[in-house]
Symmetry: C2
Subunit: 374 residues, 2 copies
């Protein structure tokens, strides 16, 4: 066993005990005479897996029967298209990073009246908007509770008269989610919910009726809800791993316990980075900083490469920033052990000392920007 | 280990060696320091998995660079919507069973001019149409090379001036596929290609240009092709298992060898059923019978239940017919060992002897039907 610490943004590290449980199920599920990959999706074995996962989602998020809980394929990106297709063409989108930018692009391709309710691109998505320009009668307001690439997270969800759509892909179950404000919540599984290949979608049942009759069933939340997410063959293994991950989450004490731990350790990492402004520059401004994705820069690509190479020697992998922005990014999802964060902080401090001793340049301060929350 | 023989229609049985290879990869992939569920989809590890799977698809199907090879989510059912969305609204569909019926329904929901080029529903989909009513200028002709539920299989693909779309979900790699006649081929993985959660889609590159600009990227074959099927996070594990399954298929001698074996053993099963018309009635007429799905009936639900219960005692599972049609169905995909088919035939013969001895009624002959190929 030479498993290393992996800080990738997703697919992300999973708890060893979840992987061991998944491994056990591949050749034979108890009482089934076959492995989980072979399990018929119309039988009691899969129905139990699905039912237990749905019940755990409802317990962990506090979602009562006013909500439909769907397990779909296609990733959060498919939901970018399904949101306008199911709720209507005139969406407002709070553009706070790459993922909401993509969501707005997809909605616009459909030819409706989707528009940005804010756009913090002028400061390279380093903060949250001061205000949202919301239209009366908008079909929905779409936000990303956390922008995975830019490390910007809404401290609390905005209030909205239109149904609030929350892309919670990177911080679902990593902190409390204010369902009372939301109309739709979706999250790809490959960060806090297990393996790539299933997307958790919660929709208030009252919103299911908005889908037009011209929508193919496979693109309709209403049709998926009516079929219990088994309109066609579900991604059985990904739902199984989701169930294992939900049970693991409950064993950790649930969302509140994990949120407190995540906030504390992210604060320690930010403090270590902020303590060395001569070496590191955190991308996101205080007040908008994510507890799960921490992107930062060093002065030069060569320094960043040296940081990443040294980290790899320490057994700390997956720290390169997203290909679209570069730099360094540490993703600290629920399955990242505290010891991993501690070892990362130790490397941040050790590298800073080395860089100072070698007379490395300091990063430039961020460009001045106006009109956005500091 | 109490693995049993599983004749389910999909998710279907997988080769033990493929399951063992998948199991090995869960905790740690060699050289990666993490397991396959945690593997970043933008790194060399996944790129190798994807590249090897694509190359094996091309070798096994004889697909040259005129074809885009895509690994998508959403199942074959999502393709029912993507076909008209990407190729145009005026499709002809050869309705030969449940799956083409569903494909036509989805195309019609989109509000275009999709229509049936044939419909064998009058005889409960027990045969292939004598002729297809094809429109000049149709956007495409959609066929299912094999209808999983009704056990009807085209001996060869029809010729078509419009691009031929082939749903090959249940017989891909189980027999040769005449790509020269096809424009689009798709197949859910959970029968001959591994685990539910990935869909193989082949599209002639020339057809990629037909998608309208108003199509969201996530629904566009062109966009997926341009992004190498990594427009968003792919279903990493399902693609990994697909790759294992493709290598296994090559080790068996490839499509030609498997097709010969499949045809021979299906013929043995049909012969055993046809030899006892006093007990069994095969659903599909000779000339249209599938080599991979063999649905048949007994005279009464009680007899069918007795057949299934006895089969389960023999360790033969998953033989109940689809919930929409009842009866019995044996799915004999590539991963079903010959010994499994032999044991099933032995049970077919033993049960027939028991039923005769007990004076059980014979099944009714099929209702007479006109206007369709006998």
């Amino acid at each position: 066993m030479t498993r290393l610490l992996h800080f990738g943004s997703g697919p992300a590290t999973l708890p060893l005990e979840v992987l061991e449980e998944a491994r056990e199920a591949l050749l034979e599920l108890p009482g089934e005479g076959l492995g989980v990959l072979e399990l018929p999706h119309r039988g009691p074995g899969y129905e139990r897996i699905h039912g237990e996962a749905e019940a755990a989602v409802r317990r962990l998020l506090g979602a009562d029967d006013a909500w439909a809980v769907l397990f779909l394929q296609g990733g959060a990106s498919l939901q970018f298209a399904l949101v306008p297709m199911n709720l209507g063409p005139d969406g407002d989108v709070a553009v706070t990073g790459t993922w909401t930018q993509k969501a707005l692009e997809e909605a616009r391709r459909l030819g409706g009246g989707a528009r940005a309710a804010a756009d913090t691109g002028a400061t390279n998505f380093d903060r949250l908007p001061d205000a949202l320009d919301l239209r009366p009668g908008a079909s929905y307001l779409h936000v990303a509770s956390n922008e995975t690439i830019h490390g910007v997270q809404w401290p609390e969800l905005p209030a909205s008269a239109a149904p609030l759509v929350v892309d919670a892909s990177s911080d679902i179950l990593a902190r409390p989610l204010d369902l009372a404000r939301a109309g739709v919540v979706f999250a790809g599984a490959q960060k806090n919910l297990g393996a790539a290949g299933v997307t958790l979608v919660l929709v208030r049942r009252a919103l299911l009726e908005r889908a037009p009759a011209t929508l193919p069933a496979i693109l309709s939340w209403r049709a998926h809800a009516a079929a219990g997410s088994a309109l066609n063959t579900p991604p059985v293994f990904a739902v199984f791993v989701l169930g294992l991950m939900l049970r693991w989450t409950e064993r950790q004490g649930g969302v509140a316990a994990l949120a407190a731990r995540n906030a504390a350790r992210a604060a320690r990492l930010y403090a270590a980075l902020d303590a060395r402004p001569d070496v590191y520059a955190v991308h996101a401004r205080p007040g908008a900083r994510s507890t799960v994705n921490v992107p930062f820069r060093l002065a030069t690509p060569a320094l960043e490469a040296a940081f990443l190479e040294g980290a790899a020697r320490e057994g700390l992998l997956g720290l390169a920033g997203h290909r679209s922005v570069g730099g360094v990014r540490a993703s600290l999802y629920n399955a990242m052990p505290d010891d991993g964060v501690a070892r990362l902080i130790a490397w941040v401090e050790a590298f800073a000392a080395e860089a100072r001793a070698a007379g490395a340049p300091a990063p430039q301060p961020p460009a001045p920007a106006a009109g956005a929350r500091a």
